[in-house]
């Protein structure tokens, strides 16, 4: 990547020093770190149950539907659920801060370096 325009480094540093940026970073990590730990643990638990908890997995729930199938379908539910939660969280809590900081950066001279016609 070619070096950005002169002075850009200082402008990034100025943004990084803003309390809004610290807050944005904190909010982002506060969601993704616990969410990642949760879905990974939940998924590894599922894989482990398939290996080492067959008795539990083989129990029938309704008709021919057993715990293994329900657990598998719950992985779908949790994936959809976390995705929706993140979409709502980021729209409400992350985007406004990011847009505010981004606009300050742009009004400061802008570095949209892509060819425009």
């Amino acid at each position: 990547m070619s070096d950005p325009l002169p002075g850009t480094g200082e402008r990034y540093a100025a943004l990084a020093a803003r309390p809004e940026f610290t807050e944005l970073r904190r909010r982002y990590l506060r969601f993704v770190v616990p969410a990642t730990i949760t879905f990974m643990a939940w998924y590894v638990l599922y894989v482990a149950c398939n290996n080492w908890a067959r008795g539990f997995m083989n129990q029938q729930v309704v008709g021919h539907v057993n715990v293994a199938v329900v657990f598998g379908l719950l992985q779908f539910v949790s994936t959809f659920g976390i995705a929706v939660l993140y979409a709502r969280y980021s729209t409400r809590r992350l985007d406004p801060l990011a847009e505010q900081l981004n606009q300050e950066f742009e009004s400061d001279g802008g570095t949209g370096r892509e060819v425009r016609r």
Binding site: Y43, A68, Q75
Partner: protein
């Protein structure tokens, strides 16, 4: 014979449609951002469809439903790993990468590191992962088309591989990212509509009662309730159990490191659109895998899958097409023939879309990372770079054809799993460290890429996949000291460890200051690449 004529006609229609898209797209390509990133002008929904089109390969469309048809519940496990993996991409990678890169995976590393070593390493792993995946798709195409046409001849398989290779060269050389993306969008729509239609027809046969469908599948399989329980395919003994754990990890951590998926995030105008595209992709891919559950158990219930049946001898690959024929009215009926031909054409479109995406990814990396930066040290014009990408696409296409023809004895699922394991071991640790660890440096990046690459490929070389067992590539010799078929359980930690050690040994570098910049840019989008305004 009637079936075959109909299938060929629909195949030709798919080819004509995709070539038409390519010609249209080739007139729109002007700048490098057009060629590499489709002008960054795709909406979140469009890119979400294209991600689905890129990701739902023939291996997952035909492979997973076939695997369920043969092995029941265990066949379903692949799809869960494939889906959960998208949370890694959504939460940790997509938006940050969109904001901090331009065209390739390496851009994001090169932001704060020494250009030449990190671009060389990232380009190598991009090409290795893409070639494994590409071979899987092309080998699959050969056997699939010959199966669907009911002609089992090596000459036909080779011809199909060459034709698929030629088509992908045309898509990528002329259409670039814009053409490739539209091919993937069309394919995704065809795939979703086709699967939905067959799933509804299957469910209707069982009164929309999942339990009844499962019961019928279990009964016809001859295995009873065991068919619906874990253990038919994976984890029969302790080694098998760890092998399954290893596969599970590679699937869930590999997706967000697949280069052809990563570069899709660059085709949207903003990080917010990239996020939306992943949300759409999760919805589409998740619904699709739920449908493969119906297709797989439907095939087990309605199609002959016993020993010696076409489903069993094709390792499950023809389960979905034959199921389509069965629910359409059975062999010889008009409805059956039409649905069989339709699903076959969808499978063919699937292969074309995926191989095009892979070729474009490799060609982009060759031109943007290797040619423009490593070789020419940035002293190239956009025109020269794009021309190089086009030449690279031709070379990669020819190499892929040449490799795929002798590679036909390789197991497709194995090649795909290897691509995921390599992506999870070499690419994901590097991306995660780069985004979240200030001290990470050039040596750390190179070590994690090379370390993960060597560990994953090396361990497979010394695994039962290559030697020592009755189903190995070389059954006559035994140099397999690594017991697992999938290397992920060991090679992913090695990738992370190498990155950590390399960083500690590499010493502090000036790039650390640029980490602040990378962080600001990736989180806020300040100074990120913008969409091309035509």
């Amino acid at each position: 014979m009637n079936n075959q004529v109909l299938i060929v006609v629909l195949f030709l229609a798919v080819v004509a449609l995709t070539l038409g898209i390519t010609i249209w797209a080739s007139r729109q390509n002007r700048s490098a951002a057009d060629y590499y990133a489709g002008g960054r002008s795709f909406s979140g929904f469009q890119n979400g469809l294209a991600i689905g089109g890129d990701y739902m390969s023939a291996a997952s469309f035909l492979g997973i439903s076939g695997s369920i048809a043969l092995y029941g519940y265990d066949g379903f496990l692949y799809s869960i790993g494939f889906l959960v993996a998208w949370l890694v991409a959504l939460l940790l990678v997509a938006e940050l990468l969109r904001n901090s890169g331009r065209y390739t995976m390496a851009d994001q590393l090169a932001y704060r590191m020494k250009q030449v070593p990190v671009r060389s390493a990232a380009a190598l792993s991009t090409i290795v992962v893409s070639i494994f995946y590409l071979l899987a798709q092309m080998v699959g195409a050969g056997s699939l088309v010959s199966l669907l046409l009911g002609v089992d001849s090596p000459a036909l398989k080779n011809t199909v591989i060459a034709v698929v290779g030629l088509l992908m060269i045309i898509y990528v050389t002329f259409g670039g990212m814009k053409g490739t993306t539209w091919v993937q969008i069309v394919k995704a729509v065809l795939l979703m509509v086709g699967s939905l239609l067959i799933s509804l027809l299957v469910l209707a046969k069982f009164g929309f009662n999942l339990s009844a469908l499962l019961g019928a599948a279990a009964e016809r399989s001859g295995k009873g309730e065991a068919f619906l329980q874990p253990g038919q395919l994976y984890g029969r003994d302790l080694v098998g159990q760890f092998d399954f754990l290893s596969l599970g990890l590679a699937l869930v951590l590999g997706t967000a490191g697949l280069p052809h998926i990563l570069i899709r995030f660059y085709t949207t105008p903003t990080a917010k659109a990239a996020r939306k595209s992943v949300l759409w992709a999760i919805g589409l891919i998740g619904s699709f895998y739920l449908m493969t559950l119906v297709l797989g158990f439907g095939a087990a219930a309605l199609v002959e899958t016993g020993q010696g049946s076409p489903v069993a001898t094709s390792a499950g690959n023809v389960a979905s097409p034959l199921l389509a024929e069965a629910v359409g009215g059975g062999e010889g009926s008009l409805g059956g023939s039409v649905l069989l031909a339709l699903i076959s054409a969808v499978a063919f479109a699937t292969i074309l879309a995926v191989v095009a995406g892979l070729t474009l990814t490799s060609a982009t990396s060759v031109a943007h990372d290797l040619y423009a930066t490593v070789w020419k040290k940035g002293q190239v014009t956009e025109k020269q770079e794009v021309r190089t990408a086009r030449v690279a696409a031709i070379v990669i296409g020819v190499v892929a054809i040449a490799l795929a023809i002798p590679a036909q004895s390789l197991n497709i699922a194995f090649l795909v799993a290897l691509a995921f394991a390599t992506a999870a071991s070499a690419n994901l640790p590097t991306l995660i460290y780069n985004l979240f660890w200030r001290r990470f440096n050039t040596r750390g990046a190179c070590w994690s890429i090379y370390g993960g690459l060597i560990a994953s490929v090396g361990l497979v070389l010394f695994s039962p996949v290559v030697s020592g067992g009755p189903r190995s590539l070389i059954p006559s010799v035994d140099f397999a000291w690594f017991p697992l078929n999938n290397p992920g359980l060991v090679s992913i930690p090695i990738g992370f460890l190498c990155g950590y050690l390399g960083t500690l040994l590499g010493g502090r570098e000036a790039g650390e200051d640029r980490y602040t910049e990378l962080q600001v840019r990736s989180l806020t989008g300040a100074g990120a690449e913008k969409a091309v305004q035509h």
